[in-house]
């Protein structure tokens, strides 16, 4: 079908295999980008680790790993697994940070006060602005 101005951009008869590949790649890219950056469910894809209030690391929650974070009293062990993050061990007596368990929702935070280490889930539109505990 030709447009009024005579262009043949969308004429199926003249579309080459290359055109199709371009369109398919574009659509796939769109879907991927949507999935990566348009997560409206409040889950976070990243977390930030602070030591003494300063940014120490930024973590991709979909890249499983364990971090040894040097704090005021010693090393805190933080684990990232399946889109979640938690304190596994910390050199504090109360172990409150470890008891907080897995964090996954945007805005969730766990802190080891004695060691001055914290981890927080980042999200563009977080599920929670603040957590009451």
């Amino acid at each position: 079908m030709s447009g009024a101005n005579g262009t043949r951009d969308f004429d199926p008869a003249t579309r080459t295999r290359g055109d199709r590949v371009v369109v398919i790649v574009a659509l796939l890219l769109l879907a991927t980008l949507y999935g990566l950056f348009w997560r409206g469910d409040g889950h976070g894809a990243e977390a930030v680790v602070l030591v003494d209030g300063k940014r120490w690391a930024r973590l991709n929650l979909f890249q499983d790993q364990e971090l040894r974070v040097p704090g005021a009293r010693g090393e805190s062990l933080i684990r990232v697994q399946d889109g979640q993050v938690r304190f596994v061990a910390s050199p504090c007596t109360t172990q409150q940070c470890v008891h907080q368990g897995w964090l996954s929702q945007g805005g969730e935070v766990a802190v080891c006060l004695p060691n001055r280490v914290s981890v927080r889930i980042l999200a563009d539109d977080p599920r929670f602005d603040a957590i009451n505990f």
């Binding site: 951009d9 929702q105 599920r127 602005d129 009451n132």
Partner: protein
């Protein structure tokens, strides 16, 4: 691909571009001050304006922490040294309003919120940076303090001067200073022209304004186990404070002793695992959370009414939830299996 499809795709692309419009800035900082983690969120404020404001708040919090600390040397430490003498002496200006306000709230709570029981708190080992290692105090030790009935009514203020009738009074504002400090922080933000903000001091917070097009979203942590129990939306000006038996405790010979001491028995309060209080001011919410926790699962309602809080949710030892009717309408449970809920009489 026909024209309609092409036009639809173009329209979709344009819609996506519109969605990329810049959002108003939001300034967020986490401070390790006041012996806890203080989160400050300012909506519609960029870093240039937000950073110096929050730095000022951090200084305020540090100052209040040192001044009001129950067991570190400071203004309150000095007051506690002088009170048992029975002499009249001048109190620092930063401590005076704190003492006055806590006297008022203690009276409203019928003495269940009682910052004069610093000796009991110390006897249990909770007046320390480290959790107590046990053993718990003996009945005789507890009785010795209880019999002398330390209360906020033993303190007599005259201008900037103070005097205590009762040598057993030792002030500990652990159940109150955080709320009072959050109120001061909100005051300072408002003076600086901030309209939309949350100040969250170790999980106890006051929110003003809203988060742009929506209210502030607050998650309430589950007192047992992990994760979020419920969420609630807050806007305008409201404080949400939670006191729980999981915050500070020690175990001794298989028994758990938590940090909220019942001024009537001199022992850790029993029956509840957490109390969440909604109120128009953070200091009231803080004091009331402790008072209701002490009152327990059967007797909290009259105390809540007397103190003038706007809403209550509490979780008892068995995991059952009670809440006031107004809060039931606002609370959204975040668990797969919501707990059993009993709706109380209206406040």
């Amino acid at each position: 691909m026909n024209v309609i499809t092409a036009r639809l795709l173009t329209a979709l692309l344009l819609v996506s571009l519109v969605a990329c419009e810049r959002r108003p800035p939001e300034y967020h900082e986490q401070l390790l001050v006041f012996g806890t983690v203080v989160d400050v969120k300012l909506y519609g404020v960029d870093a240039k304006r937000g950073a110096p404001l929050v730095a000022q708040l951090a200084e305020d919090f540090e100052y209040m922490h040192e001044t009001w600390h129950a067991w570190h040397p400071g203004s309150l430490g000095r007051v506690n040294q002088l009170l048992p003498s029975g002499a009249t002496f001048a109190v620092g200006p930063s401590l005076l309003p704190l003492i006055k306000r806590s006297q008022e709230l203690s009276a409203r709570s019928g003495g269940l919120f009682n910052p004069a029981i610093g000796k009991l708190i110390a006897l249990w080992g909770f007046a320390s940076d480290e959790p107590p290692s046990g053993p718990p105090p003996t009945e005789a030790q507890i009785r010795a303090i209880l019999d002398s009935k330390p209360a906020m009514t033993d303190l007599h203020l005259d201008g900037i001067n103070i005097r205590s009738d009762n040598p057993a009074v030792k002030l500990d504002f652990g159940a109150f200073a955080k709320g009072y400090a959050v109120d001061r922080a909100i005051e300072r933000l408002r003076e600086a022209g901030i309209v939309d903000a949350v100040v969250n001091a170790g999980g106890d917070l006051r929110a003003i304004g809203r988060h742009g097009q929506r209210p502030w979203r607050i998650g309430i942590r589950h007192p047992r186990g992990e994760g979020i129990l419920a969420s609630v939306e807050v806007e305008g000006d409201e404080s949400v404070f939670t006191s729980g038996d999981y915050e500070r405790y020690f175990d001794w010979q298989g028994k758990r002793y938590d940090h909220i001491i019942d001024p009537r028995s001199g022992r850790p309060a029993k029956g509840l695992s957490s109390v969440t209080v909604f109120a128009d001011q953070a200091d009231l919410a803080d004091a009331a959370a402790t008072a209701l926790f002490v009152a327990g699962p059967k007797d909290w309602l009259p105390v809540a009414r007397a103190m003038g809080v706007s809403g209550v949710m509490l979780v008892d030892d068995a995991g059952n939830v009670q809440m006031t009717p107004g809060i039931r309408e606002r609370i959204h449970f975040e668990m797969d299996e919501p707990p059993p809920v009993v709706i109380s009489e209206a406040l």
